[in-house]
């Protein structure tokens, strides 16, 4: 009896998370990126608890365009506002928007795609036409108009506007995966046993496509941060009283700032570059982890 028990305990296939972890550790670049990301996030959210946003964006007439020094680590902008503080708050705002948008698009996209793919047929057809409708809308133009007509907007409203036009990609992906998945034996078996569609979808199919969701969402995160910065750079994101990486960048539209006052825009640019590269590196490692043929670990 004892012998039998031992045999059963021996080999369990490695869990998804341990595969991911192994993959990241094996890829030094991804590991460094992940550590950098965690540090930045913890630092930015930690420090911004202490910093007072109102104080940072207070205009100080007597310290306009100060170069980096002891009082202002990264100098000041044309309103005498501390760049370092703006960078911290800006990174926090940009990250928050990126994460919020990614999560919200993720949730909508996964539910939409899963339902559509799982049921198939007419339901799938109708849902996909709705999705097509959203796809053909000129995203940037509508966002710009929205931003212009919504009187006051916060991180939440801005994220909602972006979410409304960014959930389609992930929904399509999940649908195609769900279409494949529902033909598999375990789904048929579960159906035969009388499980509800709801239960099959969310407790059986969903866990099987988690890896795909994680990978897509990670890569989306980088894109969303970029999108927010881009909109703010063009002046359709946050006003200057709510700094983000994009608003800091947009100072560089002034040729004088670009040429003579690097400290205003270089840190933000470098930070955007590093953030996006790191997220991508981690995302690539995750992607490999989900595909046994590409794994290194």
């Amino acid at each position: 009896m004892e012998n039998k028990n031992e045999i059963e305990q021996v080999e369990k296939s490695p869990s998804g998370f341990s595969i991911i972890w192994r993959e990241i550790v094996r890829d030094k670049l991804a590991l460094v990126s992940l550590i950098f990301l965690i540090l930045i996030t913890v630092f930015v959210y930690g420090v911004s608890i202490i910093l007072d946003q109102d104080e940072i964006v207070t205009v100080d007439l007597f310290s306009i365009h100060e170069p980096p020094g002891e009082e202002f680590w990264l100098g000041t902008d044309y309103g005498g506002r501390d760049i370092f503080g703006q960078l911290i708050i800006g990174t926090r705002n940009s990250l928050s928007i990126g994460i919020l948008v990614t999560l919200m698009t993720g949730i909508i996209g996964v539910v939409f795609g899963l339902v559509s793919g799982y049921f198939g047929g007419h339901i799938d057809n109708i849902m996909m036409r709705i999705l097509d409708f959203f796809l053909i809308l000129p995203f940037l133009m509508i966002v710009i108009v929205f931003v212009a007509i919504v009187p006051k907007y916060s991180i939440w409203t801005f994220s909602l506007i972006m979410t409304a036009f960014l959930w389609m990609g992930i929904a399509r992906l999940i649908r195609s995966k769900a279409l494949q998945e529902k033909e598999l034996d375990y789904v048929q078996a579960s159906k035969t046993l009388g499980s509800s569609n709801f239960k099959i979808m969310f407790t059986q199919v969903l866990p099987n496509i988690t890896s795909l969701i994680i990978v897509t969402m990670t890569l989306n995160l980088a894109a969303n941060i970029g999108l927010e910065s881009g909109l703010s750079f063009l002046g359709f994101g946050f006003p200057e009283s709510t700094p983000s990486l994009g608003t800091l960048l947009s100072y560089a539209r002034n040729p004088q700032t670009l040429e003579y006052r690097w400290w205003i825009w270089v840190p933000a640019s470098v930070l955007i570059l590093l953030l996006m590269l790191s997220i991508r590196n981690v995302g690539e490692a995750l992607k490999r982890a989900t595909d046994a043929r590409q794994r290194r670990g």
Binding site: V57, T58, V59, L61, F62, I64, D77, Y78, G79, G80, R81, A148, P151, K152, Y153, G235, P239, E240, S241, R253, N254, P255, Q256, E259, Y260
Partner: protein, 606 residues
């Protein structure tokens, strides 16, 4: 007069300055002898110890170094984000960029001096006899095609603008002031009874009312070439080739080629009435505001129509240009919304219950802001603290002795306490006299690089005296939205920051009168009306009387504060060192035909 953003404003101002180049008048104090080298008065301005510049250190006339060559060409940069429209005739154009283009090939018959009063130095002279003005065009004034400029042409311009089919923006009070014009416009008369062609070169115009405004810009002095336009129906004139493709004038240069919206090349008009121009050709090209400095550095342009003041401190030492400077005919102001516009009656209706109706509140808000600090720190002294609503660009009428309301936080607090604005619920902000929460909504324009911090600064300053001020919608408004909403008396707006370009005639009725749609504050009073009326009355031809009236009016405005001026402005224009005889501003006595260069190519920065 028009509402305007900084950039459009600068265009507007430059237009008049260029006009003035072709105009004449008494010597400006600073100008001295313009034919000789006068380095002493035209050294480039140096910042003083505080890093501040002063417009007083600038000359508005280019110093002439070296020998001018025969001929040569000149490149003018029209600074604009957009293409120019291309309606190239004084009688039809509407955009200021177009005016910049026209200035080079056409000019006004009358010119004016530094006080903007018509002189007899231009292509025509005038004589006033009661309500009738007699104009005589000089014999040697000819159109570019050789035809003489005649009194008929001048009459024709009036007939076209007064025609019911005319689609341009010119027909207005300047024209209805002419006898018989309204009947002609209504189609009741075939001719304008108040205008009479005496002979080929002499014209008589009878005005209904003669005021000081008439001789400061209210006479239409741009003829329209009848031999070219007479066969074109009035409605089609503004889109005809004679306006769009082959424009004609009698100025110092002729239009050679036009690349629509982008550039224009001119060649000299050898038959120009003041004498043959020294330059062979002129090129005008549109350049984007962000590349102005690069274009200047590389010699891509000799000068530009406007130069962003905030770029000056970083570039004040550009080696290949000299900066000319002048006081701008414009100012920035903070307006309080105090009533409504009654469109049917065509006049403002002040509302005594408006949120800002309390005089103490308005006075306190003026005392609370430190405009000198704003001027020094954001504009390095190239804008400065404004005191009254008549800017120093009109030295005759600007009251130097009136200090306005100085920055004084204690005084502001005192005024507010006195009026009953006290903090009753300890939230750090004052409530209104009824104990209701007071939130003042502030509208300000985006555009211009410093708009945002300046608006924030004002909000902070008011917070310092306990007033809660918030930006409408929490952000700055785009230029057109801003004026649409201010004009429509949007109830969301309590105060707004605008800019105003004063016309060459000082008459403030255009912005502060009862019947002015541009009176965005919607404030007026009997005293205001009577002073403004006095300012353009018959007696006001007496300059001293008019000065006295406007002095009183400026005092009234400082007392009532329907709006307060924040900053006076200056214009700074860089000109390549190779250029001779160039000036900005009015009444300099320097004309475009004298413009010359010392070498073939513009000098490049070291």
């Amino acid at each position: 007069m028009t509402k305007t953003s900084l950039q459009k404003l600068l265009f507007a101002i430059m237009l008049v300055m260029l006009l003035a180049l072709a105009a004449c008048g008494g010597d400006d104090n600073e100008s001295g002898d313009t034919d000789s080298d006068n380095d002493s008065t035209t050294e480039e301005s140096e910042a003083n110890e505080d890093g501040l510049f002063s417009i007083d250190d600038f000359s508005n006339i280019k110093s002439n170094e070296g020998e001018a060559i025969e001929g040569g060409s000149f490149t003018y940069g029209l600074v604009s984000d957009t293409a120019f429209e291309g309606t190239l005739n004084w009688n039809f154009y509407s955009g200021n960029p177009d005016a910049e283009v026209i200035t080079w090939f056409d000019e006004a018959l009358l010119t004016w001096d530094e006080n903007y009063v018509y002189t007899n130095d231009g292509a025509a002279t005038y004589e006033a006899d009661g309500n009738t003005f007699t104009f005589t065009i000089r014999d040697n004034v000819n159109w570019h095609d050789g035809e003489p400029v005649t009194a008929e042409d001048w009459l024709f311009a009036h007939e076209v603008i007064g025609h019911p089919d005319y689609d341009g923006p010119r027909y207005g009070t300047d024209f209805t002031n002419i006898e018989g014009m309204e009947e002609y416009h209504a189609g009741e008369a075939d001719t304008i009874s108040g205008i009479e062609v005496v002979d080929e070169k002499t014209l008589k115009i009878t005005y209904k009312e003669v005021t000081p405004s008439l001789v400061t810009g209210s006479i239409w002095t741009y003829p329209l070439a009848k031999h070219i336009f007479e066969d074109i129906p009035v409605a089609d004139m503004s889109s005809s080739d004679a306006v769009r493709k082959n424009p004609i004038g009698f100025g110092p240069f002729k239009v050679e080629t036009i690349v629509p919206g982008e550039s224009v090349t001119y060649t000299k008009n050898e038959d120009y009435w003041r004498g043959e121009p020294k330059l062979d050709s002129v090129t005008l090209k549109v350049i984007n505001p962000t590349v102005v400095v690069n274009e200047l550095e590389t010699g891509g342009v000799d000068t530009v129509s406007s130069f962003p003041v905030d770029q000056y401190p970083d570039n004040s030492d550009l080696s290949n240009v000299e900066f000319l400077g002048n006081v701008d005919r414009a100012f920035t102001y903070m307006g309080f919304k105090l009533g409504k516009w009654d469109g049917d009656a065509g006049k403002v209706v002040p509302d005594p219950n408006a949120k800002m109706a309390n005089k103490n509140l308005r006075q306190a808000m003026w005392h609370a802001v430190d405009n000198s600090a704003v001027a020094d720190n954001f504009y390095h002294g190239l804008r400065w603290n404004a005191t009254t609503l008549i800017p120093p660009s009109h030295p005759e009428f600007h009251d130097e002795s009136n200090p306005g309301r100085e920055y004084d936080v204690d005084k502001a607090n005192e005024l507010l306490d006195e009026a009953g604005y006290v903090d009753t619920n300890d939230d750090g902000f004052r409530e209104d006299p009824d104990g209701e929460e007071l939130v003042i909504n502030f509208a300000s324009m985006s555009g211009g690089d410093t708009a945002e911090p300046i608006a924030q600064y004002y909000i902070q300053s008011w917070e310092n005296v306990g007033l809660k001020v918030e930006l409408v919608d929490g952000r700055l408004m785009e230029f057109n939205t801003f004026y649409d909403r201010v004009e429509a008396d949007d109830p969301e707006i309590d105060i707004y920051q605008g800019a105003w370009g004063v016309g060459i005639d000082i008459d403030p009725r255009g912005l502060w009168g009862e019947t002015a749609a541009y009176n965005y504050t919607r404030w007026t009073s009997e005293e205001n009306e009577s002073l403004l009326a006095d300012g353009v009355s018959e007696e006001a031809f007496e300059v001293e009387y008019r000065q006295e009236v406007y002095k009183e009016w400026q005092e009234l405005m400082v007392e009532e504060v329907p709006a307060f001026p924040t900053l006076y402005r200056s214009v700074v224009v860089p000109v390549n060192n190779r250029v001779h005889n160039y000036a900005i501003g009015d009444g300099t006595g320097i004309y475009l035909h004298e413009l010359a260069v010392t070498q073939e190519e513009p000098i490049v920065a070291e």
